[in-house]
């Protein structure tokens, strides 16, 4: 079965969902991500869903689960790029993903993760040194 690739970028994990996921693929992503957080000691997870044309209750729950599990594993999660039509539908469906951080773009999402970690005293990078090109290289 195909899987959704997870990229490691410094202390963050980066996932871009670009396919119309069936339920097993979504569950596999949930398992893979939690495994990778433990494996790499990642402190942040960024999930970009700008290419998703639909998020139903199953995928919504998968996203909420990832955020909760990551928090237990001491990592912050941010979801980026949700389309307006998807957001409206999700709210009408009755799902508002409380406790999941969001950002308009991947760039803003990265900035948000850094500021959250910096506020928690977990990141010792100088502030604002983080807007240079974000080449998402594979795991180091």
């Amino acid at each position: 079965m195909d899987r959704i690739p997870i990229l490691k970028m410094g202390r963050f994990l980066l996932v871009t969902i670009q396919v119309d996921m069936h339920d097993r693929l979504a569950l596999a992503l949930q398992d893979d991500l939690t495994a990778r957080i433990t494996e790499t000691g990642a402190r942040g997870v960024l999930i970009d869903i700008s290419a998703l044309e639909m998020v139903d209750s199953f995928i919504g729950r998968m996203i909420a689960n990832i955020a909760s599990m990551a928090r237990i594993l001491d990592a912050e999660t941010v979801v980026t790029g949700m389309q307006p039509a998807v957001a409206i539908t999700l709210v009408e469906l009755g799902l508002d993903l409380p406790g999941v951080r969001t950002a308009l773009t991947v760039e803003r999402g990265m900035r948000l993760l850094r500021s959250v970690l910096r506020a928690a005293g977990e990141l010792e990078e100088p502030s604002d040194a983080d807007d240079e090109g974000s080449d998402a290289g594979p795991a180091e």
Partner: protein, 288 residues
């Protein structure tokens, strides 16, 4: 209707066409439906003449009402309804033009009646047919009007709810007038769309110009704020009047998770702070 009842009419239309047309035109000019200011008599006669030809063809064809000759007649009626409406005729005047053919047809049917016992049935068939045609002109006019109203409503909606950029990363939507559920929904969708297009982090929905809010509208507002949050943007609602605040509490709508400010200025100040802009006075004419 059975052909036997319109066969007399078909005969009249064929044999007395010229007489009917002449009498019709005379009635027209005498009647109140004549509008020489809108259409010269020659054009009226043109339309009448074409209408008689098409009617004769349809009645004489023996086809059902779905037949091609009837369709041609209906199309012609639709075209004169549209053109007359554009020229300034009222729907009543257009219908009256069609209905006024009854009198000459009535007279001719009477003159040519072979069997007086059949006459009432023949007259009735003619009358219902002409009524039907007149009603069609009205239906076409009404449809055109409905389309115009729908289009104007759309245009008004676009005009009445501009999404404006206040600062880098800050959008404002000043809403004016009574909000109904459909309008709120359209406006909110366009606001969310603009957030993506401009990459705005904060959107201010200002309802200073909104007199009342009902439950559905309040729910749409909350839905929009929640949807914006899912996308990664913050919404602030400003300009809530005391009556609206009372209504919202009375309706049991929960706004605890929504940022609200009394005025657009307060909301803007909060938005600037959220986006990391400092606001202060300087002694010159510069602005922050």
């Amino acid at each position: 209707m059975p052909p036997s009842q319109t066969s007399a009419l078909a005969g009249v239309l064929q044999k007395d066409r010229a007489g009917v047309l002449q009498a019709w035109m005379q009635d027209q000019q005498a009647g109140s439906a004549a509008r020489p200011d809108l259409m010269p008599a020659s054009e009226v006669q043109d339309q009448a003449s074409q209408l008689l030809d098409l009617l004769a063809a349809a009645v004489g064809s023996g086809e059902g009402r779905d037949g091609s000759s009837w369709q041609a007649l209906r199309q012609f009626l639709a075209s004169i309804s549209t053109s007359r409406a554009a020229q300034g005729f009222s729907p009543v005047e257009t219908a009256a033009f069609v209905l006024s053919v009854k009198q000459p047809l009535f007279t001719k049917l009477q003159q040519r009646a072979a069997d007086p016992g059949q006459l009432p049935a023949e007259l009735w068939a003619m009358t219902t047919l002409i009524d039907d045609l007149a009603l069609q002109t009205t239906a076409v006019t009404l449809e055109a009007r409905d389309r115009m109203i729908a289009r104007q409503q759309e245009e008004m909606l676009e005009l009445s709810t501009p999404v404006v950029k206040l600062w880098d990363g800050i959008l404002a939507l000043p809403m004016i007038g009574t909000l109904d559920s459909a309008r709120t929904q359209v406006v909110m969708e366009s606001l969310l769309q603009r957030i993506v297009q401009t990459g705005a982090e904060v959107a201010i929905i200002d309802i200073t110009g909104v007199p009342t809010v009902d439950t559905l509208v309040a729910q749409h507002l909350i839905k929009t704020v929640t949807a914006a949050r899912l996308m990664g943007a913050d919404c602030i609602i400003s300009g809530i009047r005391p009556q609206i605040a009372a209504t919202i509490v009375h309706l049991g709508v929960d706004l605890t998770n929504v940022d609200t400010k009394a005025t657009l200025a307060d909301a803007f100040r909060l938005a600037l702070r959220r986006t990391g802009h400092a606001l202060g006075k300087s002694n010159g004419s510069e602005r922050a």
